[in-house]
Symmetry: C2
């Protein structure tokens, strides 16, 4: 089998796990930095490694459009192309068809849309989504799903769930690569009955892992958290559970408490580029004039390269001077912050004190859920 | 004394030397990457080190304007501020007053101008230029000079030379830091008699090193090369000689043949940001479609991080996708190219075969001087 997953310890619904892939083993719960276009923006693979990243995500939609998966396959696959030899998960492209593509039309056969880059007419079917990801050669591929927005009607939501299950069957039938795992995606919005039916149907097909999709699509954090626990509980116990595109540190900690094992989100790198640093004491905005003469590192006690060597004053200067190194160093710190958070999460589960860890963290961040 | 310089070997007019500074020893001829705003654009100090950089340049004008030298001094000086613990040379700001500042007015007392950032009225006198650089704490400071454009009149050029000598005296009188060397700058455009008078007057003041200024200000490369040899020969033999702001690989090799020891130029990083890579076989333009599927590194045999890990196809993709990592990796390679060129230059002088090295290099680059 392409991957193996083992739950090492439970603490309430939270799980400490171990995920073996063809490119190495990662401890879960784990955060995956996002390398949309075959690069985690601004960071070299060694910088990512130093920040603590062990598995990253890349986007099927973006890479199929540019440079094209056949180009990447011809160069030895995504790992070699981007010089990342750890595990890679690729999404299916379904979410980007919904969020980025132009004049989208979805029916049972496929999603037809225009490229947001050059307007080319393209088609993404379940079979094509699998073929692209097999060409990329990721360790974990995702089934094509339909991901409707939060304000969708009940009928549309039902239809999206039916199609998602149907497409998952077709992805499973089309999937060939023995060194790649295929995960299914559970849709159903905030309708628990629909999520239950979707999860049951997909579990019957015995995928290597299961994702919760259709969150972070416009609903409030409270709406998401209200259904997250019951939704996660619907998933097979012995398979990794992946909450797609979520999120803020407090959302991740809440989702871990619901039994989720894997996460991805653009926040650490996107906020880093926009001069926002995550710290244990809450966010720092580096453009703020208060940092002009501050000799302190971004976060005391952080062992990332940026915190070991640079002051807030220097980072403030880099952002004011519009220097590339500012986004690089803050992205690096933020990825390190997320990876360290997951270290602490795993430590707390391992010691059976995750509930306490969670309340202390939320209090420290000044967050009320 | 703050620095020591020793000529280890001569090969024609070319010199192999050793420059000791408070932050380490560098072999000359040496290339200094430009860290205008206290950062060599896009590169971390370890990346610079890996690329072979041993001494860098920072700009007095830019740093005095933003964040202000008193901010940097308050944070422990420029080395600590930017986490570069090798030698740093700061220019005097004179060149930027001529090239960047608005509504500039220069008289014997000082240059008065408006900041190109916010229009503030500022003044740069010889004493102020020294005070700024003492605040920054560079290993090598430059005297304030007047740097007229190439198309200046003979009378204006004479006046600029007089003022440059007068200002050098005042800089020398104002300079206090025992752990910082002060270099004088020889002006005189392409007028050898003027350059001779300027060099003689400055040599009489016994500076720690001498720069050739007023090149790369609009004259052709041929015009520069015609006077470079005689100009360099006017400088004291036992002091390091620095050709400011030059240049292309072929210009550097030509200037080494004239007896120049130190160089700085923005080309490796600026061209890197613009998708141009220097290679031993001449320049590569990475946006060019011919690189789309090319598995070769930028330059075979180059041991830089970019060449060890990435294909031209990947770098082409990064530039087309507007990803920050493209400029980072190409800047890194280009700095490594310049540093390796200087390695080879030193090797050739050490073996007494610099003339041959120079002709072979020019032929390989397809350059006729």
């Amino acid at each position: 089998m392409s991957i193996r997953f083992e739950v090492v310890r439970n603490d309430g619904a939270a799980r400490l796990g171990r995920l073996q892939t063809p490119h190495g083993t990662v401890d879960t719960p784990v955060f995956m930095p996002v390398g949309t276009q075959a690069t985690v923006k601004g960071l070299t693979p060694p910088q990512l490694q130093d920040a603590g990243a062990r598995i990253i995500l890349a986007n099927t939609y973006h890479l199929a459009l540019r440079p094209g998966e056949e180009v990447i396959a011809g160069l030895g696959g995504l790992h070699q192309f981007m010089a990342w030899d750890g595990p890679i998960l690729t999404d299916s492209g379904g979410y980007q068809v919904y969020s980025l593509a132009l004049s989208r039309k979805i029916d049972d056969r496929a999603a037809v849309f225009r490229s947001h880059i050059d307007g080319r007419l393209l088609e993404l079917s379940p079979e094509r989504a699998v073929a692209i990801q097999e060409g990329l050669g990721s360790d974990i591929a995702m089934c094509l799903d339909e991901c409707p927005p939060a304000n969708t009607t009940a009928a549309e939501l039902r239809e999206a769930v039916c199609r998602t299950v149907h497409w998952a069957e077709r992805c499973r039938a089309a999937h060939r690569r023995p060194d790649q795992a295929l995960f299914a995606i559970v849709q159903g919005g905030t309708d628990l009955e629909l999520r239950g039916r979707c999860a049951e149907a997909l579990a019957g097909l015995d995928f290597a892992g299961y994702a919760l999709g259709g969150f972070s699509v416009g609903e409030t954090a409270a709406q998401m958290l209200a259904v997250l626990g019951p939704s996660a509980a619907l998933l097979p116990v012995h398979r990794p559970r992946y909450l797609m595109g979520v999120g803020r540190p407090e959302d991740i900690v809440a989702a871990v408490a619901c039994g989720v094992d894997m996460f991805d989100c653009v926040l650490p790198t996107r906020n880093g580029r926009n001069a926002m640093a995550f710290t244990a004491a809450g966010p720092l905005r580096l453009r703020n004039a208060q940092h002009k003469r501050d000799p302190a590192p971004l976060e005391s006690g952080c062992s990332c390269y940026a915190c070991r060597h640079f002051s807030r004053a220097y980072l403030h200067h880099l952002f004011l001077a519009d220097e590339m190194l500012g986004p690089v160093l803050l992205s690096l710190h933020n990825v390190a912050f997320y990876c360290r958070l997951m270290d602490e999460v795993r430590g707390a589960i391992g010691q059976g004190r995750f509930t306490e860890f969670r309340s202390v963290s939320l209090a420290r961040w000044g967050v009320r859920l």
